[in-house]
Amino acid sequence: MSAGGILILMGILFLGFGYMGVPVSFALMAGVFVATAFTPVSLQSMVGQLFHGIDSETLLAVPFFLLVGELMASSDVVHRMIRLSQTLVGHLRGGLAQVVTLFSMFFAGISGSSVADVAVLTRTVAPEMDKEGYDRAFTAALIACASTMANLIPPSIMAVVYGATGNVSIGGLFLAGVVPGVLIGIGLMVYSYFWGPVGVMKPRAKFIDVAVAARGAALPLIIPVIIMGGILTGWFTPTEAGMIAAVYILIVLIPVLRPTHVKELPRDFMYAGLLYSLPLAAVAGASAFGWMVAYLRGPDIVADYITSFAGTDGRIIMLLLVALFVIVGDFIDAVPAIIIFMPIILKLTEVGHINPLHMGVVIITTLVFGLITPPYGLSLLVASKYVGVGFGKALVRSFPLYIVFFLTIGFCVFFPDVVLWLPKMLLPESVGCFKSPTGVGYICPP
């Protein structure tokens, strides 16, 4: 069988098994094992590849950021951040909708998990929105869309996985994710203001109320400072920054703000232990899958196909990849998608002379969009389930919000200088700059 035929067979088997209901990690492994039988590669080395796929210290950041999100959500200290959001934007038109978006931006700076964000918001703000007469479908759509920022604003689990598998600076990806994250946040706030439900109009909070709320939320809001401060100063790697954030929550936040939760901590650890194994089991399967894709020269096949349309024009290559990943993100979870397609992404980054960091941000922003599109829109599925509204209704209400995502992705593709400005300023090496031989400043690629 030809290499192309084996690749197609492997893809069909994975999707076929997956949509039949086989867990993603096992569907990936089954597809790879069958494909291996048509190649000279031994099954023993493919089973070894499963282990090597997760044997990476960088991937350790994933459980830490999940643990941070889990500890924050289960200890329920986030209501202080909700109160701060209310005092800042609660008086605007569609006040609680604005609160959802602003809170998600704050929470995104703490947790790298969209589902944790959805869980917190559906438990806290959604019932309030219900009382104020917000359409439940809109509530679910907005919560799901806002939760996607958790994967853009640092720390982001997708950025960790992308950086670890694509050999791209994770700190750089964190910083570059700020622009699309904030753009989505602003877009959702603008939409809620002009076209969302009005809600109950409230008076603007007094300065003293804002100050009190800010004081109350100060301890949780130190977490993003710890994470990004540690990475930017070079004190910690992203993995260590995640651990320090978790330790800070365990030693400072919970004992000070919610001491009664201490006895629940063993349960939090057990659940977080289970939670982190799920994406990483998929990573194990996907790394073997990605290895086989590379072995069968899949990147060359796809790159030839894409360059036959786009030539070596980086922007057109990116737009074609965006189209590909909008489709891929509809059907496959982002983490395995990144790993499976990484050899192809790397090849096209090289062909189009694209900055790897720029490509990473565009791909992550596109995959984030997959969290709210059917049939595998995980955030929208979870939000509609917990808000208590039909998935179909929530989907219809999220269609206008898709525009925010399209505009953001387009912005990221066409304005790399803006997207890469923050990493260029704070972490110049991450965008390929190197120290000037004169010792003053950096020399950066055009």
Partner: protein
């Protein structure tokens, strides 16, 4: 709705033997121990490095707990039906078609687990001759978890196959797993 944080998940109870409940509980505890231990070892790594006396072996202990945690969690998730799924289309089905697809799905998992056991075992034996520096720990210490997880996955898959065959795969909790619109459709 089931308590997803419970030590022994009561969801899909009809697919479980009580005799294996202790195993699920042990795996959950081990998952917690693994994440706690590698949090501790990374913490100690940062502290010892900052003090100027780094313990180099800590990183190896960290990766061991990390990898074990992934495969232990993978086995626990198999019993709890907690893995990531592309779709849960079978939950909308009933009767013979449902049973046929559920059995086919588990046969796929069964075959994968057998391959994990057999080739994972061969890899583990091979790794007895490879060592990690500087602790000189055989690589088997890390990779032996692959066949061990394979055995557990095989065991839990057989448990589900036998119980599903005897009692059917459908359960009242299927509704919890569904998007609300399907629940509403069923309620009509």
């Amino acid at each position: 709705m089931a308590d997803f944080r419970a030590l022994i998940l009561q969801r899909h109870r009809h697919l479980k033997w009580k005799a294996f409940d202790w195993l699920e509980a042990v795996l959950m505890v081990l998952s917690g121990v693994c994440i706690f231990m590698f949090t501790l070892t990374v913490f100690c790594d940062v502290v010892t490095r900052t003090l100027g006396a780094p313990w180099l072996w800590l990183q190896q202990v960290t990766t061991a707990f990390f990898a074990w945690g992934v495969f232990i969690g993978m086995a626990a998730a198999t019993r709890r039906n907690d893995h990531f799924y592309l779709t849960e289309i079978t939950k909308r089905m009933t009767g013979a078609p449902r049973s046929a697809i559920e059995i086919a799905n588990r046969v796929v998992v069964l075959i994968v687990s057998v391959l994990l056991i057999w080739f994972g075992w061969k890899n583990a034996l091979l790794d007895l001759g490879s060592y990690r520096m500087p602790s000189l720990l055989p690589l088997t210490v890390y990779t032996a978890i692959v066949p061990a997880a394979g055995v557990l996955i095989l065991l839990f898959t057989i448990e589900q196959l036998v119980n599903g065959w005897r009692h059917g795969f459908e359960g009242p909790e299927d509704r919890d797993d569904l998007p609300q619109f399907v629940v509403e459709e069923i309620a009509k």
